[in-house]
């Protein structure tokens, strides 16, 4: 059985169907990409899988357990983590602290221990800070550690979100347009990073408009259009699928599928 199974997931907003009957599976160490024109329902799908939206129909299974509509924090405990298309950064905190929050599940303890700064509490916080520095190094932000997060560039914030998501030590990682707004060098780094993370056995669900990146990284591609799954398969097959080409032509991005990114 697959690590993450999405079965017939659907939702509508005010009578308008945003996602309808979408199914796919994701295995350990694999990268599945969800692509589709703007407004196809990719982020909405992510929001349902990660417990932000309650689906109207369908099921999400994590390691066989039905986790449909479970609170995001409970999903996090079960090993699901994500980043956001529209950045969700803790602006008033330092870059380092943003990542430390990612360690919350590993560093939390009794409130009274925290109030009185008991040795146990300080030890947990120190371990989280050390782990956070390692992750910042991994995404190339170690020199920005003490800066206020709000002061970072868009591309840097994207990587900060990835570091924060990794801090939770996820089994399933959902990345919503991690390379958006990144320059070529940053995209390259994100490419490498995603590969590395997948190699450690994390299952990655990726939404990305950079087709070069998608074609190179994905084991499987799921194509959405108007909330429906119109194709699924490995990159070579999907990029030749007439329905997929039509969907992209319809959206006016003729060259999107031909690796111009």
């Amino acid at each position: 059985m697959s690590l993450l199974q999405v079965e017939g997931l659907g939702i509508s907003f005010g009578g308008v169907t945003a996602v309808n009957d979408v199914s796919f599976a994701l295995d350990q160490g694999k990268i599945v990409s969800v692509i589709g024109p703007n407004g196809a329902g990719k982020t909405t799908l992510f929001n349902m899988i990660s417990g932000v939206y309650l689906p109207k129909s369908g099921k999400v299974r994590l390691d066989g357990e039905d986790v449909t509509g479970l609170r995001p924090d409970l999903l996090a405990v079960r090993g699901m983590s994500r980043t956001f298309q529209n950045l969700q950064i803790f602006q008033e905190m330092s870059v380092l602290e943003n990542v430390i929050v990612g360690f919350h599940m590993h560093e939390r303890g009794p409130v009274l221990a925290d109030l009185f700064a008991l040795p146990g509490s300080r030890k947990r916080a120190r371990a989280a800070a050390e782990g956070a520095r390692v992750l910042l190094e991994r995404v190339g932000l170690e020199r920005a550690a003490e800066r206020e997060a709000g002061a970072l560039s868009y591309g840097a914030l994207k990587r900060l979100e990835i570091a924060r998501a990794l801090a939770a030590r996820p089994r399933v990682l959902l990345l919503d347009e991690p390379a958006a707004g990144c320059n070529a060098v940053e995209t390259e780094e994100i490419d490498r990073l995603i590969c590395e993370v997948a190699k450690t056995g994390v299952a990655i669900l990726l939404v990305e408009h950079d087709m070069k990146l998608v074609m190179r990284l994905s084991d499987t591609i799921v194509v959405l259009d108007h909330g429906e799954k119109i194709a699924e398969g490995d990159p070579a097959v999907v990029s030749r699928d007439p329905r997929v080409i039509e969907a992209y032509l319809g959206a006016g991005t003729t060259e999107a599928l031909h690796a111009h990114g």
Binding site: F84, I89, M93, H104, M105, R108, L115, A167
Partner: protein
């Protein structure tokens, strides 16, 4: 050696508390000082709730009332020593905050503001109307905790205002220390995270309902202790303490000084407690000037006085 922000805040606080009395021309100033401390204790609680966690309460004076009346009623009806009544009052306030907070903290923004306001109004109405128990609008007498007498026996002789200055100062110092500990701890970071982005905090595994409740209960305990200390030093408690205006005042103090910062909150409490005393020389214009000062700070230093000052200093240092 470089001091951490926590250490430097505590150092500044200790120096100000110890040095100020050398400039006091009379005993009366100890009294004003202890009022500053009492307000500051409650405001540090607001800093945790509003500054850290981003949740507003317009009813926190209700907890001051509960803490204050606990010191009057528990000794009278259950024979509890007044000093222990402070602790019991804090426990009762914490329990009530827990029960009230669970449904209320699901609300956001102005809905939360109105719901907490309702709680505050409810408490002050009960205190004013249940005269058989609370003495009604005229208030009720509070017994002497006898700590000063105890100190006298071991050779420490303080006037009454001096004693309360020292005692409330000590409690404030401990309160500030705890709040600063919390800030850099996993629990406090969770609060500041949900302030920044609830959805990101949740995906990081933070149970935001529980985190908000933690902040609400802790801040209620701060307010309760402040109310108890006020009652004990005044030897009297009236329903005004729990009133709507007092709640607003506490939030204003926190925001004016800088809600995210413990030192800011304390500074705001000092400013809004002292300013009216200073401005009495302006007589009729007192409230006009006070209002203008508040508006001016918010327009020109929206982060509050202390954080803005810090930013200025840091900007120059770089």
């Amino acid at each position: 050696m470089r001091l951490s922000p926590k250490q430097s805040t505590l150092l500044v606080l200790a120096v100000l508390m110890i040095a100020s009395p050398f400039f006091f021309p009379s005993n009366y100033y100890y009294r004003v000082g202890s009022l500053v401390f009492v307000n500051a204790i409650a405001v540090v609680g607001i800093v945790i709730l509003t500054g850290y966690a981003g949740q507003i309460s317009l009813g926190h004076a209700g907890f001051l009332g509960i803490g204050g009346y606990a010191c009057a009623l528990l000794p009278a009806h259950f024979g509890l020593p007044p000093a222990l009544a402070v602790v019991a009052g804090a426990a009762i306030s914490g329990a009530i905050a827990y029960v009230v907070g669970r449904p209320i903290l699901k609300l956001k923004g102005y809905y939360l503001a109105v719901a907490t306001l309702g709680f505050g109004v409810l408490v002050s109405m009960v205190l004013a109307n249940e005269g058989w128990l609370t003495g009604g609008p005229d208030g009720i007498k509070v017994p002497d905790p006898g700590i000063r007498a105890l100190l006298e026996q071991v050779g420490i002789e303080l006037t009454n205002p001096q004693f309360w200055y020292a005692f409330c100062g000590l409690v404030l110092f401990i309160g500030a220390w705890l709040a600063l500990n919390l800030r850099e701890s996993p629990t406090g970071r969770a609060l500041r995270a949900l302030h920044g982005s609830e959805v990101a905090a949740r995906t990081a595994g933070i149970d935001i309902a529980k985190a908000k409740l933690n902040a609400f209960v802790i801040s209620a305990v701060y307010a309760s202790v402040a109310g108890s200390l006020l009652a004990l030093q005044n030897r009297l408690i009236t329903p005004d303490v729990a009133g709507f205006m007092h709640s607003i005042e506490l939030v204003t103090m926190a925001v004016l000084g800088g809600a995210g910062s413990v030192l800011g909150g304390i500074f705001g409490a000092a400013l809004l407690t002292l300013l009216p005393q200073v401005l009495t020389v302006l007589q009729d214009y007192e409230h006009v000037v006070l209002g203008l000062v508040m508006m001016g700070v918010m327009i020109f230093l929206p982060a509050g006085l202390i954080p803005s000052a810090r930013r200025l200093l840091r900007g120059r240092g770089e």
